[in-house]
Symmetry: C2
């Protein structure tokens, strides 16, 4: 059991060389995204998916624990996926596994970022400045959970 030092976990996925028939398949993508949310132990609140002309799909699954999103570029064999969960029980890498299986990508690059790091909360409360643009993110890169 890892310690909880942030409010949320956010996995950014870059999937290249996805199988040809996956990236423009709105019903298939929607089903995979909902299954991904369920695999993560998340509660689905709303889904919204769109198909673009001539190709490409965008979709969001809003979960009690934050959100999952996907945007596809079939012409590049590419999908951008975000898996953002909060709470101790959510398992965002389980969602990743479902989508990875669905996309059948040649190459997947991932980055996990901690959102709402508690250290930042303490720092914000101590801050004497009125407004600070740091332009750098305090999140640390994490290895995947498998």
């Amino acid at each position: 059991m890892e310690s909880i030092d942030s409010l949320g976990r956010h996995i950014l996925v870059e999937a290249w060389g996805c199988r040809d028939d996956a990236l423009d398949d709105l019903p298939g993508i929607r089903q995979a995204m909902v299954e991904a949310a369920e695999a993560a132990g998340a509660t689905v609140l709303d889904v919204s998916f769109r198909k673009f002309a001539p190709q490409g799909v965008s979709g969001v699954v809003i979960i009690s624990e934050s959100h999952l999103t996907i945007h596809t570029w079939p012409e590049h064999g590419y999908a951008a996926i975000d898996l953002f969960t909060c709470g101790e029980r959510a398992r965002p890498w389980k969602a990743f596994e479902v989508l990875s299986d669905f996309l059948g990508a040649d190459q997947i690059t991932t980055m996990e970022i901690r959102r709402g790091e508690i250290g930042e909360l303490r720092r914000a409360k101590k801050s004497e400045t009125d407004f600070v643009y740091l332009h750098e993110y305090g999140g640390s890169k994490q290895e995947s959970g498998f």
Copy 2:
């Protein structure tokens, strides 16, 4: 005019010390998010916002150019925002400005990540491996546009 070397731009925002009456104000947040999308020059396709008990708001604005999301933790004075746009015309930092004004945060940390970097596309096409988990993201940190 910067050169286009990626399919999308993704700004991650960590906002701390937000004004008390902003983070639990669903109508206000929804309005600010839609105004942010419009300020970015994006086309709004769908919106979905939820209020949680006892507090907190989650919301998504799906745009033709990808998505904007927000999740708030009023008890921590914190909001996590994602501004993901594709295409040459979108101005995600304009969206940021609208939301920054709305939240009135003491401290804002941002990171801009390039999604779908074209170099990765070339690399994927040349790849001889069947499947590679890099567990590192090729995106580079970017300074903000203002």
